[in-house]
């Protein structure tokens, strides 16, 4: 336990001016995203990270060094995961009436998401390391990172995979909602949250506050549920 405290302390104190680079990259990304009317393909992460990466290449700074210099930012991930409890607790109050459809959708949806991803990984014959790093793809990044770390996957890969899943999810969901005539905002939100986590939730808040609240619910419940079954499920798919 003291080791953990020491480790986190070093993570924070190891920060340096390179943290500013992240802030600038993020601000540019956010500016572009807002100017584009929140176009999913122009998500701040998709715009900001290539800018930062090219500067690092240009200045010959290696990634390890940059990552350590941003320790304080990464450290915030823990408290932010805990913070998800706040919007979630508000939704929990109106849950009892809808308990059955909500819980069944999250239970089956989250499970099918993981089984589909893992089966396709085996089908495409990806390496075990890739398989471990994509298993948690539908889970919100703070929780996905925790799960992936425990599975022994690559943190750098899972964040990219989670991000792409989120973006592809909101684009596909748009089309499918129109085709199948799912008009109830509560269900749209729930699906967005389970599949596209925080990105889906941000999108859902654009549709309506109610849609966003259900998305938060889907995201939170799926995060908890997936972290429970995923370690045992993954073991079945390893070579």
């Amino acid at each position: 336990m003291t080791e953990l405290i020491h480790q986190q302390w070093q993570q924070i104190t190891g920060s340096s001016w390179l943290l500013g680079l992240s802030l600038i990259g993020f601000s540019i990304g956010l500016w572009v995203y807002r100017r584009s009317d929140s176009n999913a393909f122009l998500h701040p992460l998709l715009i900001g990270t290539p800018i930062i990466a090219s500067l690092l290449y240009l200045w010959n700074i290696d990634f390890e060094h940059y990552y350590q210099a941003n320790g304080a930012l990464s450290w915030l991930l823990g408290p932010t995961t805990v913070a998800l409890a706040v919007p979630l607790s508000k939704e929990l109050r109106q849950l009892p009436a809808l308990l059955r459809p909500v819980s069944l959708t999250v239970l089956f949806g989250g499970f099918v998401a993981a089984v589909l991803a893992l089966s396709l990984a085996v089908l495409f014959n990806t390496s075990d390391l890739v398989l471990l790093s994509i298993a948690a793809k539908s889970v919100t990044t703070p929780i996905a990172m925790g799960i992936t770390q425990q599975l022994g996957g690559l943190l750098t890969l899972i964040t990219l995979v989670v991000l792409l899943t989120g973006i592809i999810g909101i684009v596909v969901a748009d089309v499918i909602f129109k085709r199948t005539g799912i008009v109830d905002e509560r269900w749209q939100g729930l699906i967005l949250g389970v599949v596209s986590h925080a990105i889906g939730t941000a999108r859902a808040f654009e549709i309506s506050p109610r849609c966003g609240a259900f998305s938060t619910l889907g995201m939170g419940l799926n995060g908890i549920w997936t972290s429970l079954f995923l370690p045992s499920l993954v073991a079945l798919f390893l070579h």
Binding site: A53, L77, V86, S89, L116, T180, S227
Partner: protein, 106 residues
């Protein structure tokens, strides 16, 4: 306060050997605590909103790492992308059909 619950979670995982992230257990503990109080805790509301709204910023450093992955991973990237598109579409269709059935039943 959020940090305190995170530590409580870390401590809980460390004590029980549970296979979930400590921060997740921390979130569950806070959720349980919040469900006991009737009115929302204002300062917690403000902080958590700020953090959740700027979630993307926290992921910037680790996402930059996507540009520094090994050659081996890049070679598998086309399959990874196809996999994401197929499985994501599949799940959305599955859940849409599931919800339609469930809601019709009621």
């Amino acid at each position: 306060m959020l940090v305190a619950f995170q530590w409580l979670g870390e401590l809980g995982v460390w004590l029980t050997g549970l296979a979930i992230p400590g921060s997740l257990l921390g979130m569950l503990l806070l959720l349980a605590a919040l469900s006991f109080s009737d009115e929302p805790v204002a300062f917690l509301d403000k902080t958590s909103n700020l953090l959740i709204q700027n979630l993307s910023l926290i992921f910037i450093p680790i996402s930059v790492g996507a540009f520094f992955l090994s050659h081996d991973i890049y070679q598998q990237f086309p399959s990874i992308l196809t996999l994401i598109v197929l499985s994501t579409s599949g799940v959305i269709i599955f859940m849409t059909l599931l919800i339609r059935r469930l809601v019709q039943d009621d």
